[in-house]
């Protein structure tokens, strides 16, 4: 089965049609997606800046992570749920839009970055929890995360164009 056939099948589902053609669902869900930016990217940004060593320097990394990560996870849950519904409303448009393909790739990379952080970098946090300079692995995770999330926002906005 050609991928396009799958997205066309999704596109033809009554649920997808209703999401797309009824007046209110799309605007309401999209509003949650945009407002959710604050709780997701807006919170994880601070964690990333701590990993780079630019902010909250007097707080041990583990404390910044334990205090902010639960909220970021809630924010990303909102983004994932609203984003999935938005995707389901316009599967063919998302499939054909180059910007959305970039967004999808960056989302996967962002997920891999999170996995890498928790599997390979954070387990050793006790060694550099209060270090004046962050280890390069932590800094890379921070920079990559910020670059990807802002790239994702940009690609998301530009999906409307191409």
């Amino acid at each position: 089965m050609h991928p396009a056939d799958f997205f066309q099948w999704l596109n033809d589902l009554p649920f997808s049609v209703a999401l797309r053609e009824d007046d209110w669902p799309f605007p309401i869900i999209e509003t949650f997606h945009i407002l959710g930016l604050g709780l997701s990217v807006g919170v994880i940004l601070w964690l990333d800046l701590r990993l780079i060593g630019l902010t909250l320097r007097r707080q041990p990394v583990s404390q910044v992570v334990s205090q902010l990560e639960p909220w970021a996870i809630r924010g990303f849950a909102i983004m994932f749920l609203s984003g999935s519904l938005l995707f389901l409303a316009e599967p063919m448009k998302c499939y054909t839009a180059i910007a959305f393909r970039f967004k999808a790739v960056m989302l996967v990379l962002a997920g891999l970055n999170v996995w890498y952080f928790h599997a390979k970098v954070y387990p050793k946090v006790a060694e550099w929890d209060t270090a004046p300079v962050m280890p390069w692995q932590a800094k890379i995770v921070g920079y990559v995360s910020m670059a990807l999330w802002f790239g994702i926002i940009i690609a998301g906005r530009w999906t409307a164009y191409f």
Binding site: L37, G38, L39, G42, L45, L68, W71, F150, I153, I154
Partner: protein, 161 residues
């Protein structure tokens, strides 16, 4: 209800005729670019405000005092607010006439004024008092969030209504 009840029509035409307004009108890419920066600044602004307001509820950055949280997050809030205004003005100038008959835009401006006023008075008292979890702290935090979210909501509604 819209801005035409408040300001004369020539004002909106004047806005669109400014150098900034006409430059943006002519290039659809410049508008999209500026709007993208507006959205990125929104993520930063809402995030900073959320962290401060969560702290007023006694949640989030609990190991820092209210004053410390404000000290860390408030500067970024205001920088991103300035970026939002700096990107908002060119976008406004390029579409002033259309926006003059927009109801959501009118309410966005109303909520913006309310949010600012509230933030600089009640919210400031609450953060200065340094107490989280009190009635004042929770009301200030809750209402502040509602105001700023209302600004964002009205902003989004401009495209739909």
């Amino acid at each position: 209800m819209n801005l035409q009840y408040v300001l004369p029509i020539w004002f909106f035409h004047w806005c669109e005729g400014t150098w900034l307004g006409s430059i943006i009108q002519q290039s659809k890419w410049s508008f999209a670019l500026i709007e993208t920066v507006h959205i990125m600044a929104l993520a930063v602004l809402l995030g900073s405000f959320l962290i401060v307001d969560l702290r007023l509820f006694g949640l989030g950055m609990q190991r820092l005092t209210v004053a410390e949280v404000v000290g860390q997050f408030a500067p970024t809030s205001w920088v991103s607010f300035v970026v939002m205004v700096a990107t908002g003005i060119p976008m406004y100038l390029s579409e002033a006439v259309r926006l003059s008959s927009s109801t959501p835009f009118f309410y966005k401006m109303v909520f913006l004024c309310l949010a600012l006023l509230f933030h600089l008075t009640v919210h400031r008292s609450a953060t200065n008092s340094g107490n989280a979890g009190t009635g004042l702290a929770k009301i200030a935090a809750g209402l502040s969030l509602v105001c700023w979210l209302a600004v964002a909501l009205a902003g989004r509604a401009i495209a739909y209504l």
